[in-house]
Assembly symmetry: C2
């Protein structure tokens, strides 16, 4: 595995592979890798002749009061993990190279950026869309793999790729969970033992919602009320939002017809955790 820090060197590598008609897969990450990431990496390995994993804690997707500085990092461990997965290139640019002085160009989605997490994290999806355009132009992938846990990010990437005419396949990969159901996330590192237990309320509330829908419930309001009750049982957990949405547009739906996504964000201690599930009628 080659580790490339330089944007220019990365472009040269990708140019050469493209000329050799190799199919390039990209897994963009912020590092501090867990089994969820490694599952995306394996999906990328299957889908590309060449596999690039990027590790970049993107400052433009963090708000001024968010956890950019505290975000967990362990680059050497990440390197070892990716080496084992037969990754071809680990791309690891610096913030100074990605956002040099005078940087001023941003990509934004008028609608998708303002929904769900976007309403609570203004500027977050602008930062995500911007860094993805940059990574796409640098790595020039044919296929990009995203985890379904960050469901709004996945849909943002899909919409942006379509709108801006990137010739890239966007693949959503199922959320990987701990044995007890907690969705894997680098931010789980923020949880102490007690909070770790409280964090299970997210999974419980999703499972509860699924079973409500199986027993015939279609009203979003009742499903959300049940989620709220489940989260509020945990004194250490605070519900930021729970919404039932159209799986692509992410517009809220009052009643489930066919499929809908139940998405939620919950604060547990210093960790803002998100999770979601697909509800089918």
């Amino acid at each position: 595995m080659r580790t490339i820090e330089s944007i220019h060197q990365m472009q040269i590598w990708s140019d050469a592979e493209r000329r050799a008609t190799k199919r390039i897969a990209l897994v963009p990450t912020m590092g501090f890798l867990h089994q969820g990431h490694l599952s995306l990496v394996r999906e990328g390995r299957r889908r590309g002749d060449r596999l690039v994993v990027s590790i970049f804690v993107n400052p433009t997707q963090f708000g001024p009061r968010e956890d950019l500085a505290a975000y967990p990092r362990d680059f050497e461990r990440d390197q070892r993990l990716l080496e084992k997965e037969r990754v071809d290139v680990l791309f690891h640019p610096t913030s100074a190279a990605m956002y040099p002085e005078g940087y001023e160009t941003y990509v934004d989605l008028e609608r998708l950026s303002s929904l769900l997490c976007g309403a609570f994290r203004p500027g977050h999806f602008r930062g995500v869309a911007t860094v993805l355009v940059k990574l796409f132009n640098i790595v020039q992938p044919h296929v990009v793999i995203f985890g379904a846990k960050d469901y709004q990010q996945l849909q943002t990437a899909r919409r942006m790729v379509q709108d801006l005419n990137f010739d890239i396949d966007v693949i959503g990969h199922p959320t990987v969970r701990e044995e007890d159901g907690l969705a894997m996330s680098s931010r789980n590192a923020y949880l102490n033992e007690e909070e770790r237990r409280a964090a299970l309320s997210l999974y419980r509330s999703l499972k509860n919602a699924e079973s409500l829908v199986r027993s015939g419930e279609k009203q979003s309001r009742r499903i959300i009320d049940a989620v709220r009750v489940e989260i509020e049982k945990e004194p250490l957990a605070r519900l930021e939002y729970a919404r039932v949405c159209h799986p692509e547009s992410l517009d809220e739906v009052e009643e489930i017809e066919g499929e809908a996504v139940l998405a939620l964000a919950v604060w547990v201690g210093k960790a803002r955790l998100i999770d979601n599930t697909l509800l089918k009628c």
Copy 2:
């Protein structure tokens, strides 16, 4: 020359040329071609193994009260002109294909979009940056040619290409003028005979400014005052703005050190005309 309307077909053509290691030059236009455009086309012919000219009157760069519907068009004449210049592909997408229902992704520059013309045409450079990203992803050029008459557009393209890591050379080509000095522009078609004479005040004011600077004037305020006096002599002309700016950042400068750009926008009848010149101390 091949005329391609389909975005997908255009991408297929460019993929094949890139795999054959051909260098693709792109000249993006809104059509109604004049000698200024053809001079860009010849520059593109020199710089690329393959030459694509796009004709697309981009709706997102027009404000709600601007001249989108009235913008002059003559596609068949344009086709004949480009055929003669040995253009390989004329790319001519529809608005419905470029901005399908639900389109919502935009590219903007925080600073450059708000200066000069941007202050009077809110959203204009957002539309320009957005359509350029789309055209770059569709045509996948190695080099793109812009006219220097649209100086802010040229600098916007340069900055955006650098910020978003497009691996593209941006070339600025000198403004082509009528014999009497009027900068060529598709919007000159809006001028009647009397207005056509009044439009010469732009060129006269630029020449006047150049000669002031040659005789030692460095104060932007005095240069701008002289421009204003020159334009106000013409009852049919109305100065929208005149600014002396740094040639790259486009920040206004109080005093010229080295080089500066004098840029102006003037209304003559229904035509909003722009022009600029490089001032050297």
